[in-house]
């Protein structure tokens, strides 16, 4: 029987893979993909707890808020990435180090 722990395992696995993405990518959009994986892992947690530990749908509401804010963040983040590409001709985060001392 599928219980809460199965969904928590899926959530932890996706979170850890998103963390690996954020830590090792040099492409700025790759890092944003890792952030999206982390947000999806949190959403799976919310909805799984709403099903297995709750009698109302607050978890679903929080998941919808997370999706809304992830959309706003992705839009702004990708606009910034495109601005960086326009200025530097690259989106390698190791090459755009103008602020480094």
């Amino acid at each position: 029987m599928i219980g809460l722990e199965h969904f928590l395992f899926v959530s932890v696995a996706v979170f850890v893979l998103g963390l690996f993405c954020v830590l090792t990518r040099r492409n700025a959009i790759g890092i944003l993909m890792g952030v999206e994986l982390i947000l999806n892992a949190a959403n799976i947690n919310y909805v799984a707890f709403a099903r297995y530990s709750s009698v109302d749908y607050d978890g679903h509401l929080f998941a919808i808020f997370v999706i809304m804010l992830a959309a706003a963040e992705a839009a702004i983040g990708l606009a910034i990435v495109l601005g960086i590409y326009r200025t530097f001709e690259t989106i390698d985060v190791d090459a755009t180090d103008q602020l480094r001392g």
Binding site: M33, S53, H60
Partner: protein
């Protein structure tokens, strides 16, 4: 033998698709392949939401994440992808320490999550969640709902201002 039901098999299939696609996002060198594996991850998550009887959240995920965020990500990848140097743009030094840290975090999180005795209730039969979510959005959760729409408006204006570019400087 009532443990091997269709629901259990479908869950394992959806979990495999989700975790496998997330692994594809993390370990592929080509960023275009990563974007397509991200599509697989989002689709697996839609299936998991549907398995959990979260019908409204599943459709919101499909429309907003796959239909909005993923399309935007693929646009950005295509606009910034240098076809000539496909090998340069996606690796970084420090893969082994990152793998060690990641495995450490995974072990730590799984020990904490696996050992906690969560208060679980028996899942109720599946029902339509849209009426309850709608009533909550306009009832108890009306303030976060309105603030989130303000955040989306600010993000929209900000993205337009950021993408206007240097050609229209005054």
């Amino acid at each position: 033998m009532n443990d091997l039901s269709v629901g259990t098999f479908v869950f394992y299939l959806l979990a495999a698709v989700t975790i496998g696609s997330a692994a594809g996002v993390a370990f592929t060198r080509n960023v275009v392949y990563s974007a397509l594996f991200l599509l697989g991850t989002f689709a697996g998550v839609v299936g998991l939401y549907a398995w959990l009887a979260a019908d409204f959240v599943a459709v919101v995920q499909l429309l907003v994440y796959i239909g909005g965020i993923l399309v935007l990500t693929i646009f950005a990848v295509m606009l910034t992808h240098r076809i000539a140097d496909v090998r340069v743009s996606n690796r970084s030094v420090g893969r082994i320490p990152a793998l060690a840290v990641t495995l450490g975090v995974f072990v730590l999180m799984w020990r904490v999550v696996g050992r906690t005795s969560w208060n679980t209730v028996e899942p109720r039969p599946a029902e339509y969640t849209t009426p309850a979510i709608g009533e909550a959005f306009l009832g108890n959760y009306v303030l976060p709902f309105e603030l989130a729409s303000l955040v989306l408006l600010a993000a929209l204006i900000g993205a337009i201002v950021l993408s206007r570019g240097a050609t229209s400087e005054r």
